[in-house]
């Protein structure tokens, strides 16, 4: 009689300890995942901010009057596209929106391509000798933001890889530790910095 009492007590203690262990592990895994999601979001918002800066600086250069009208129009067109798409997708509205690029890849690729085609060594050299402070500043801002776009995209994609790795784990899937958070995706577009701006 007393033997079975002890057994019940032991089993209960054991079960409680295991449950506490499982609960701790789950909360730890959830916290870890939370942190990773936040990192992706932060990286995305940094990428977004740099893309906006790049488009604005491009628009400024296009409107400076120092370029021929055809080049200016090309640049203005691509930059305006980018700016419009950004404002259509306010990223700070809610948590999930921040993890999606909203299909802007094509627009940003176009801007990168147009920048590469128009800002050749010759054109940039010509603009630099003009000694116009606004133009020089716009060029510097384009090259600074283009470099940071490149970095931000790498860092974002790396963070995405980490989230997806953890979310692939069985524990995370079974216990739905990711909650309602959407699965973040890599952002792929042409982010080449115009060669003329890098030296």
């Amino acid at each position: 009689m007393s033997g079975t009492d002890v057994d019940v007590l032991q089993v209960t203690t054991f079960v409680v300890i295991v449950l506490i262990g499982v609960a701790w592990y789950l909360s730890y895994a959830a916290a870890r995942l939370d942190r990773l999601h936040a990192k992706v979001e932060g990286a995305m918002s940094a990428l977004d901010a740099q893309l906006v800066r790049r488009a604005e600086a491009t628009l400024e250069l296009a409107n400076s009057g120092s370029l021929d009208p055809a080049t200016a129009l090309l640049l203005a067109d691509a930059a305006t596209d980018s700016i419009e798409r950004t404002t259509e997708h306010p990223l700070d509205e809610d948590l999930l929106d921040g993890q999606h690029f909203g299909g802007r890849e094509q627009v940003e690729t176009t801007l990168s391509e147009v920048l590469a085609v128009t800002l050749t060594d010759e054109v940039v050299g010509g603009l630099r000798t003009e000694d116009d402070e606004l133009v020089a500043e716009a060029l510097d801002r384009i090259s600074a933001s283009a470099l940071r776009v490149r970095m931000a995209r790498r860092f974002h994609n790396d963070a995405v890889r980490e989230v997806r790795r953890v979310r692939d784990k069985r524990v995370v899937r079974w216990f739905r530790l990711a909650g309602r958070a959407a699965l973040p995706e890599r952002v792929e577009f042409d982010d080449e910095v115009p060669a003329a701006l890098t030296h």
């Binding site: 916290a31 932060g42 918002s45 901010a49 700070d92 931000a152 860092f155 980490e162 216990f175 530790l177």
Partner: protein
Amino acid sequence: MRIGIVCPYSWDVPGGVQFHVRDLAEVFLAQGHEVSVLAPADDDAELPPYLVSCGRAVPVRYNGSVARLTFGPVTSARVTRWLEQGDFDIVHLHEPVTPSVSLMALWAAEEPVVATFHTSTVRSRAMHAANPLLRPSLEKIRARIAVSEDAARTVRRHLGGDTYIIPNGVHVDRFAAATPRDEWAGRPGAPTLAFLGRVDEPRKGLDVALRALPAVLDAHPGTRLLVAGPGDAADLLREADPRAVAATVVLGAVSDEDKARLLRSVDAYVAPHLGGESFGIVLVEAMAAGAPVVASDLSAFLAVLDDGRTGATFATGSAPALSATLVGLLADAGRRAELREAGTERARTFDWSRVSEQVMAVYETVLEGAHAELAEQAPRGLWSRLVRSVPGSGTP
């Protein structure tokens, strides 16, 4: 910006990572940032004012060679104190996967973390064995930098994912402005070659250079090989061809200034390394000083030499190939002048002004993300997390 940089290797011992950290810290200090470097160092050694010692390094066998590292509770306490007192905007760790102070700082840091990977020689065993243990800590890193494509490949193989490549930096002007020394300068009929690096470390390849020398002497009898670097070359010289030994001048370890002057003086710098090189900073220094570079065709070296365009390369480890390259180059003053010019231009890419600009851009990008994150994150307790994670209750 308040920047905390962590160097895992002993500050008293010269090494590529230490020099990189020192230069980076000094460049940022000169730009007006607040910088503190945490590194192992003897407490009674004379240290620069920005350096905080985390204790004396202990030689330990790790990853196939003896490394001087720090670990243990005292170091751990010092790391925590350094982070607390520094109140950094950003913490930049170097070589975060060595079992040393970088890893401890990664463990303890709550600040945004940037990490630079230098090496391309990490054995897979070391990184793989520790993987499950390190993974959650490594997830704290917001930006991963590799110093070369080779280092990036190592990171990709062991940890997966992308890194951003920012090369090592060199103060190009210091090398370009050094004054040549007469006794090291080549004369018509008596050209000089420079070798730099530990003489008793086989992978630096002094042995290859010594074996290549007799054939060079056949074509250019007055050639001298100037060997600068720490270590004992006696064993190597005893076994080498007597003619090669007679043409070799051992300078021993030289100061930074003499290194620059040596590279300014010679007709060619020889880099016969056998492997294990992740970047090749000496090649950049040679190019900055205007020395034509003759290097083995390691992928890291090819990258530094712009795919071999700004230096002459030969099959790694092959003494005949090295002597053929040298004989041709020493006979062709036009080609040497070409390489000097191309090298000087190429070295600019690695000047600290450009390299530090890119590192700063990484810091700024990371901080932008971190701030956005803070602004969005609502406070969440442990319990809400638990509730959120229970099946059914958190999903619509």
